[in-house]
């Protein structure tokens, strides 16, 4: 709902097409291409019901729709074109705010010491780096804590974290060490999967550092203390 709040605050009318499930990225990353195609077609159908810009609050899902659908459905006469059309109006949330709406200041205000973890798919798939930083810089009252190795993967990687759990845990440890060193009380992410991973690790450590999606931070406006 935070995404909706932020977008509506900018005067936009938000629709949420019913029937959305999953973009298919987990199946795609695991090598299940037929299964990923089925979900891609379904998602394209759902998203094709309107021609408004599509805003995705997750870098990995956005990357899937923007970059992978086209190659996945290359040989599908009907869906190849549809995929292209959908990709052409899909934006990752922070890119939409900063690059399309042209504003880094969405009227957010919250107290806190924020560190930004650059989620891989957004960062390298979509080149999302500048936008979240600009948005966070504009949050009233917040202090930004630089995070060392902010662009190093946290080790989630979908099934990677379950198939090779020990390597994944070692990568997560490194990430959590950097987070704790940063002095932040909140880690801000742009992808739900990194949030799941990092927050699960912080909880297990008994850390008090919280993980928040950037939309939750941007939605907050009541910072009076």
């Amino acid at each position: 709902m935070s995404v909706v709040r932020v977008l509506e605050r900018l005067g936009l009318q938000v629709e949420c097409p019913a029937g959305q499930t999953c973009c298919g990225q987990p199946a795609f990353n695991a090598g299940y291409l037929d299964e990923a195609r089925a979900l891609a077609r379904h998602t394209i159908d759902v998203l094709s019901r309107s021609d408004a810009p599509i805003v995705v609050p997750s870098g990995s899902c956005a990357d899937m729709v923007i970059h992978q659908y086209a190659s996945l459905l290359r040989d599908d006469g009907v869906y190849a074109r549809k995929a292209e059309a959908v990709a052409g109006r899909t934006y990752e949330l922070t890119q939409f705010l900063v690059d399309v709406m042209g504003t880094a200041d969405v009227g957010a205000a919250c107290h806190g010491r924020l560190a930004y973890h650059a989620c891989c798919h957004g960062l390298r798939g979509l080149n999302v780096r500048r936008e979240p930083e600009a948005l966070l810089d504009a949050v009233t009252h917040a202090t930004i804590c630089p995070l060392a190795e902010s662009d190093v993967c946290c080790g989630f990687g979908g099934l990677f974290s379950v198939k090779l759990p020990d390597i994944s845990a070692a990568m997560l440890d490194r990430k959590l060490d950097r987070i704790e060193e940063s002095g932040a009380d909140t880690v801000v992410v742009t992808d739900v999967s990194c949030a799941l991973h990092i927050e699960g690790g912080l909880r297990r450590r008994g850390s008090t550092v919280r993980v928040r999606h950037i939309a939750d931070v941007l939605a907050e406006t009541g910072a009076a203390r």
Partner: protein, 485 residues
């Protein structure tokens, strides 16, 4: 090929238990990545150079037959010999037979990945020919009866104390000899100089071969590589079939991006270009260089890769940048990859060259974070190829049953929104039953791997879609807070 047959899980478990290894990996790779950034930063428009380098590689690989022919013609015109080896066995046999025919008892060898690939040392030694590695790192690996763990820094996994012990055990070093790194280097230098003087054959690798001139180029930061190619009377250069560039101008481009990507240097200190045997007649007579010059062009599965969907991996120029940047490599190091080429490049190259049978774990050893693609000097899309190999594994029935069942069930529901919603609600309820204080400390079944080291959150009682619809029917958009602006 030289491979570690033990299961991937066992190799990674050993690496993860090695605190020193992981510390070294982290500090060294971080430093090297810094040098790389600085090195590329000194090259104006470095991204343009990388694009250009990629075009050269793409063009060369698309016309490989032609350039190999041109190269072979140029080598032979200068009095050298070229041998195509389709397999590792053919490559080894050529060098072994040549050595035996010429009465070679000692060969000195420069650093070369392709010779590791075909286990040249082992085969020559079994034929009674002693081989001495001359690159310091490789020399240490050889003394330790170990294998290189990094393409550029072969003994990244060892401590100086391990090396000191090794020198005392194997080459009679005194305490004084191993007092510090400089004295250890001096000792190795004294030992190796003797070998150079006595060697009948020098074996080198080949970073790049130049088609128009018939030259081979080796890039090292030690002078020993150059002694290997110039001192012995016979020189054998071993090159992977793909390691060719059309012209000297192209070589210039590749050398720039190679050195900067590998170590951050503008140019590797000893960038050595060999143009065949020492000319003997008249004005062209030269004082150094071998009497005989042989180039062995090794295929060993490369043709198969070239014809496959993974041809792009042959663009690789072995800079090692993808290893240095890979967060998985940072944790497990090179040996865990089980073959000569570690890290992201190895995870593609090894199964692509040698089949998925033994190496189907390697394409899984990545979070697909894309860091390798970002640093690659020739912009190889490694994550895409890992995905293709994973898909190949699935098509070959290599994927575990629980993964297949899970994905199929998920997708079955995913294209049926009503079912998806019901399943989601059930999963949410189950997750809340397992949770305490909103978090689960132990998930059931295969998912328990997750909760070995992290908590898992209970899923929300109501889905976003439900909340969205409630908000709509209530005519409220949950947007009533008073903005404190």
């Amino acid at each position: 090929m030289n491979v570690d047959e033990r299961p991937f899980a066992q190799r990674t478990a050993e690496a993860l238990a090695d605190a020193h290894l992981r510390h070294t990996l982290r500090t060294v790779t971080t430093a090297i990545l810094g040098y790389r950034r600085a090195g590329l930063g000194r090259l104006p428009a470095s991204d343009g150079w990388r694009d250009h380098a990629r075009r050269i590689r793409a063009h060369t690989l698309a016309n490989l037959d032609r350039y190999l022919d041109q190269f072979a013609g140029a080598v032979e015109a200068r009095g050298g010999h070229v041998h195509y080896a389709a397999t590792a066995a053919e490559a080894v046999a050529y060098v072994r037979d040549l050595a035996i025919a010429r009465g070679v008892r000692l060969a000195v060898k420069g650093k070369s990945m392709v010779t590791e690939e075909i286990d040249l040392n082992g085969h020559l030694e079994r034929a009674g020919i002693r081989v001495v590695e001359t690159d310091l790192g490789e020399y240490i690996v050889q003394l330790a009866d170990d294998r290189p763990s990094h393409i550029v820094m072969p003994i990244m996994h060892m401590t100086r104390h391990q090396v000191a012990d090794l020198f005392k055990r194997k080459i009679g070093a005194t305490e004084e000899d191993v007092a510090d790194i400089a004295s250890m280097t001096q000792l190795a230098r004294r030992v190796l100089r003797e070998e150079f003087v006595n060697a009948d054959m020098g074996i080198s690798g080949c970073n790049f071969a130049v088609a128009e001139t018939g030259s081979i180029t080796t890039c090292t930061n030690e002078g020993n590589g150059r002694l290997t190619t110039t001192m012995p009377r016979i020189h054998v250069a071993m090159m992977g079939m793909e390691r060719i560039v059309p012209t000297v101008a192209d070589l210039g481009v590749m050398l720039q991006v190679l050195a900067r990507s590998a170590t951050g240097q503008n140019l590797t200190v000893y960038t050595n270009v060999v143009n065949g045997p020492r000319p003997r007649e008249g004005d062209r007579a030269e004082g150094d260089g071998p009497d005989e010059f042989h180039v062995v062009i090794v295929d060993n599965g490369r043709s198969r890769v070239l014809a496959s969907g993974q041809a792009e991996i042959l663009y690789c120029i072995r800079c090692g940048a993808c290893l240095n940047t890979c967060p998985v490599f940072h944790q497990i190091g090179g040996h865990a990859y089980g073959s000569v080429y570690p890290g992201p490049i190895g995870s593609v190259l090894t199964p692509a060259m040698h089949g998925m049978e033994k190496f189907d774990d390697l394409p899984q050893a990545s979070t697909l974070c894309g860091a390798c693609r970002d640093v690659c000097p020739v912009r190889i899309d490694i994550p895409r190829m890992l995905l293709e190999l994973r898909a190949k594994g699935v098509a070959q029935g290599k994927s575990p049953l629980w993964v297949t069942a899970g994905i199929r069930a998920f997708v079955f529901a995913g294209v049926r929104p009503g079912l998806f919603r019901t399943a989601g609600a059930l999963a949410a309820r189950a997750s809340r039953m397992l949770a305490r204080g909103g978090w689960i400390r132990r998930l059931p079944g295969h998912l328990s791997a997750w909760t070995r080291s992290r908590d898992f959150p209970a899923l929300a009682a109501t889905s976003f879609q439900e909340r969205w619809e409630d908000a709509k029917t209530a005519g409220v958009r949950d947007n009533r807070e008073n903005p404190a602006r």
